[in-house]
Symmetry: C3
Subunit: 202 residues, 3 copies
């Protein structure tokens, strides 16, 4: 199995997992658990594709991911308890940070392929990275966490997006720009988590 | 008037009616009552069409339904009290169950026409069947009922979708597959309501 | 600078400003403040364009407006306090009423260009006028204000839309129909505010 595939599946699973937890906290049933997990995992990319008018969606081409989340939802209640014992919180944060980096840069790339101007492309990167969680919180009837906790999550995504766009401007190879920017996002996110940094208006 | 037209109008009216009730419970004004009724009646199909990139929407082709809901909203307050006296709750549940069956199978058909893979087609059926109510609850600032009451509503829709897809796989005529699956959904829904069944994680 | 450009920027700034205030009331951070302001300013037009399948969005063609809101969000906290001292509430209501008129008629025009039937075109006008605020309230986890305060806001927008459509029916020049209808919406809104009128079901 290639590295990129492992990372991709990990990022989706982490998204779904965070949806499972939130849905269970809200005492949702099987239908809610599946829907919220699905929205959390794919909501950001789907909203981006709706805005860019891109089809087919990722989860249409790869219906196996949707089926995987469906199967996991069926066993979510015992699964979550088990996973929480096996998987340390650290591992979840790391996987989520990797996902944030990859989703963001994938979002910027898609926006550039659709000939978006640079600031909009950066916004599309951030939307892809964070709107899964935003939609999860809206469905769960909460003010979106990423809008109010003052932690640099969307900001890391935005900085990496700008870095990627800047590197492309200077004719740096796309591959290098892509991987280094995704790494910077993941690194910034982990650092800000490690040192419990806060930003913005409080 | 043909049977299918009567059923169609009934399903839309039941959707709108459930929107009226929820909007009035939230003490909304005329604008809210109309919008919530409209979203409840057409939200599921509209979201499906947005995801499938299908145009025009049902309510664009048939603007008479939108106008009907508008007129009903104008008289909603006295209407609801009156209707609650005339129409028994049983009748509403039956009409809603018929609507669930029809909307679901219409959703699966539309997805197949857009060449969706089977699991995604089943999901589109369920989305068409239940997301009117989900969007209604989000606009009314509630955790969607269908995600938390543990009653087999979406599940009935999903079972019928799978049955329809399976029958098509075995070269059964589309007409028969369509009507029998819609009937199964309606039947399952009514049975589960009659016997107050619960499923999923609680 | 042309008059129309001044009005356009004013309308967007008023939308963004109302987003700033709501986001700050919910104690959101920088990311939330920017997102809510952006959604309030552009949400109505974006939803309309999604429904009409029109691209590119206004804020894609004019990314300078998105950048402007981004810069304002960075200085939103002190900005809001300052603006509240300088700008009287009256001025905000007037600018918002002008925005309502312009956004509504722009929405109807766009719907007619996409060959929508008349009632749907009127609905698209109202959606363009009010759904920025509706989406703002949903993200902020509130029942949308415009659905429950019983004040004639959406109604003014709807009356103006109908007037515009009626004038076009009678072969009145588009320019005159457009400006007079927008003016009527703004006038009705200001009158209803001045005299604190209420309508609809309470």
């Amino acid at each position: 199995m290639s590295l990129i595939l492992i990372i991709e599946i990990s990022a989706i699973l982490v998204g779904a997992f965070s949806g499972f937890i939130e849905a269970r906290r809200k005492r949702m049933d099987l239908v809610g658990v599946f829907t919220v997990a699905f929205i959390t995992a794919f909501g950001g990319g789907t909203l981006r594709d709706l805005l860019l008018d891109r089809r087919p969606f990722f989860w249409v081409v790869h219906q196996e991911y949707a089926i995987l989340i469906f199967v996991l939802a069926l066993i979510a209640s015992p699964l979550i308890r088990k996973l929480r014992q096996i998987v340390s919180e650290n591992l979840i944060v790391v996987a989520d940070a990797i996902g944030l980096g990859l989703f963001t840069i994938a979002g910027v790339s898609a926006a550039l392929a659709s000939e978006m101007p640079v600031f909009i492309a950066a916004m599309m990167g951030v939307i892809t990275g964070i709107f899964g969680g935003v939609l999860r919180d809206i469905v769960c009837n909460e003010v979106p966490m990423v809008f109010r906790d003052g932690k640099p999550y969307a900001i890391c995504s935005f900085i990496g997006s700008c870095m990627y766009l800047l590197m492309l401007q200077f004719d740096i190879s796309n591959d290098f720009a892509l991987w280094s920017s995704a790494t910077v996002i993941t690194g910034l996110r982990l650092m800000s988590w490690k040192f419990d940094m806060r930003i913005g208006h409080r």
